[in-house]
Each structure stands twice: as structure tokens, then as C-alpha cells.
Symmetry: C2
Subunit: 240 residues, 2 copies
């Protein structure tokens, strides 16, 4: 058991867009986030906006926010644990959704385990998980691959590998793209994959404009393409 | 767009154990589940207990529950869509956590997409996701593998393959076991894997007895093994 004099590292999920938190966060999660005074955040601006929206017990300007993002050097991460070692709790927050997936938060969590600090994950929205369950693609086995290569020919090569692996392992393949390149990725999938492969696009999850559709490549080719440009989108592919 | 005369298929997450729903379900999710009158459930007994606990608007005995589990034949699944085609909403529920992951619910969701029925995923607890974010293992890439082979030598062989793939792809490997075999699996991992490989065991997630620890194989070998027997546990492994 970790020394009881240490604080707890809470993994605080936040909303996926500018929506309200009631539809996507349990009351108890909001109450925990409200009383914390120390945060490690991926994006300070969005974190302050979220903390303002949940009405923290202390004014947001009095809370201690440290940044952990892709520019943070590994040597600077141990210092972020200081409040925990001094007995105070910390909340870690990603820019959107759950911390520690496709963001650098996992490094701080790993350090906490090494120091025997209690890590407490809280329930909230994850676009990857919501997309997976809503896709109807087999959730018995799945892989999240993060971003695919940005360069067109490397990406098409990778898409063919992904499709091959999906068919062989009967495994749903999940990937994302920076929103302004979504439409290119969608077009490349339609051009590179087999007609009977199933593709789900899950767009603007939890928002009013949510769109989730699963079709075969052959069916997508006959439809008017959905407008994915600049919309946060999760792509899921299952080949047979 | 789907015909507006169709109902919506809601994916209703439920608690992971006998805990209360307040810590793990958003209020709006509970309110949606409360007003539904048609359900497709993996386990009728646990579904009735959950519906009783959230105080459905109509008495639980008046709600229509159909079963979809591993014994359901594919030919019987299309009939489950009938209320949706007649304009009524359906809630689909797994025995624990989110529907459509490691349960047969995905087949109904896939059919709904084929018929142009709206699918709406709701936020709630997923032991796989909670384990992943709390493990501190790299969430940039991960695979969920479901169950490993039950037979010892096949399982040890599979563990070595998993470890090799994890190191090569820098990918966290997530898997589960039927709870009464957890201790055997844990012992086999310690015996089969490399000393520097990191292993997280995440046990009884969201419950009072929650235990989440990440250590290297070498460190686990020196510790008293945690008691995992008959406790729902997620195993996560990252090799380097």
C-alpha cells in the first residue's frame, strides 16, 4: 500500500467539445474535480475554461496549474509530482476526453506508480471508446493506432497493411487524423481498401452534430461523402 | 439521414459491480435509461437489478427485455430490431460496463447501421479504458486482445508472442481472463516475460476494493502477489 501521507493522482476526464458536462460526466467526478487545487494539464486555456464551467470551490485564478504536453521534456516531469509527495491531490487533464490516451499524461502516471502514489481513474467521455461501441464493429478485439503517416504514399501503404492485419486477426483498427486532413484520409481509405471492408466514421462525438455511420467501402463509394473537414473524427476499419 | 420514424438504439453503460451508479454514470445517461421501455440485455437478472436501482419511470416488470448473449443465434438477431422499426427506442446493455466490447451487442449495432437506424453511444465505465489510463503505460497505441488461450502451454506461447509484438510496435497489450483463472495467468506472465517488461494489474475497477499497480516483471517477482482470484481484473503489458 502507498504511504497514506501521499496525495492521490486523479485522472479527470473533460468534455470532448464545447458541450456541457452534465451529459458526459458523473456527478461524483465533477465533485472531485471541483475540490482539487492542483492540476497538471495538457492545455492551460481549455483547462481553465473547463474548471470555470464546473464551478470549482476556489476561484480558478487561485488554482495551481502546471502544463504537461508534447513540448515538455522528460527531465521536467518528476517535479510535477511535488504536491503529491507533500500530501496534496492532483488532477490530471487532457485537452479533451480522458487523460493518458494519445497525450503525454501517461508519463506522469507511470512516475506515480514508481513512487507508490495512488492513481484513481475517473469515468468520462473517450472518443475512441464511444466510437468503438457505436460502430457495431467487433469489439472482441481492437487496436488503437493513433495517427497514420501524413505523407500520401506512406499512408496508403500503411492503410493496406492495416486492412490486411484486420482481416488476418479479425481485429477492428482504430485511428485518427488531425482534423484538417480528415477528408484526405477518408478519400484515401475509399481508394485503398477492399469493397467489402467495413468503415465507420464517428464525428463530433457527444456533440449536437454527432455523426456515426458504418458502411462497406463499396457502399461509401456510392454515397455523398460526409463533411469531415476540421471535425474531430475517429476512423474504424474491419476487414473480412 | 435515417428516417425520423425509426427509434434510436441507445448504448447504455451499467456499473462494473454492485456499486451505486452516481460515481460512474452521468445524470443525463441515467435519465435516458429511466424513460426507455424496450431493452436488449446480455443478462436479464443483472439488467433488472440495474433498472430497479435507477428507478425507471415504469415499473421494471412492465418493461420489455430481450436477451442477446453468446447463446443467441445470428438468425434471431434481426427480430430484436422490431421496436426500432416501429418507432420506439431501445437500450442495449451488457452485463457490466459498456455494451459492444467483449460481448455480442456489436452484432445488433451493426444491423442497426445497415437499416439506417440512429445509434447513440452513452458515456459510462469501461474497465478496459479505466485500466489503460490508470496504468501509465503508453496510451498512444494499444491493443485489446480479449481472452488468451486457457491451455497452459498455448497460453505461455501466446504471452511470448504478445510481449514480442508489444516491444516491436511499442504498443500496450490489454487482455482479460475468467476471474477464477486470474492467479494462474498472473503466475504465467511472471514466468514467461522479460524482467524489464512492465505489467499492470487493474482489479475491481470503480469498486471500494479497486487495486491498480504497474511494476516491471522483475519488481513483481520480488513482491507478494496481489490476490486476484475471482476478482475481475484487466492485465496490461508493455515491453521495451
Amino acid at each position: 500500500m502507498p504511504p497514506t501521507s501521499y496525495g492521490t493522482l486523479y485522472l479527470i476526464p473533460v468534455t470532448l467539445g464545447d458541450d456541457h458536462h452534465e451529459p458526459v460526466l458523473p456527478v461524483d467526478v465533477v465533485n472531485i474535480a471541483r475540490r482539487l487545487e492542483n492540476f497538471v494539464v495538457e492545455n492551460e486555456k481549455s483547462a481553465r475554461r473547463f474548471l470555470g464551467s464546473i464551478k470549482t470551490l476556489r476561484p480558478v485564478r487561485e488554482l495551481a496549474l502546471s502544463t504537461l504536453n508534447e513540448h515538455t521534456q522528460d527531465k521536467d516531469i518528476p517535479a510535477l509530482l511535488a504536491p503529491l509527495l507533500a500530501g496534496q491531490d492532483i488532477g490530471i487533464m487532457s485537452e479533451a476526453g480522458c487523460p493518458g490516451i494519445a497525450d503525454p499524461g501517461a508519463k506522469l502516471v507511470a512516475l506515480a506508480h514508481r513512487r507508490g502514489i495512488r492513481v484513481k481513474p475517473l469515468v468520462g467521455p473517450s472518443s475512441i471508446l464511444l466510437a468503438l461501441i457505436a460502430s457495431g464493429l467487433d469489439g472482441q478485439r481492437f487496436s488503437f493506432l493513433g495517427y497514420l503517416p501524413a505523407e500520401k504514399s506512406a499512408r496508403n501503404q500503411r492503410l493496406r497493411e492495416i486492412e490486411k492485419h484486420s482481416a488476418k486477426a479479425n481485429e477492428t483498427q482504430i485511428f485518427i487524423e488531425t482534423p484538417y486532413r480528415n477528408q484526405h484520409l477518408f478519400d484515401d481509405i475509399l481508394a485503398s481498401c477492399q469493397p467489402q471492408t467495413r468503415l465507420c466514421v464517428a464525428c463530433n462525438l457527444t456533440l449536437e452534430s454527432e455523426l456515426i455511420q458504418t458502411r462497406t467501402i463499396a457502399e461509401w463509394q456510392k454515397l455523398t461523402a460526409p463533411s469531415l473537414q476540421k471535425q474531430p473524427t475517429v476512423f474504424l476499419l474491419l476487414a473480412s
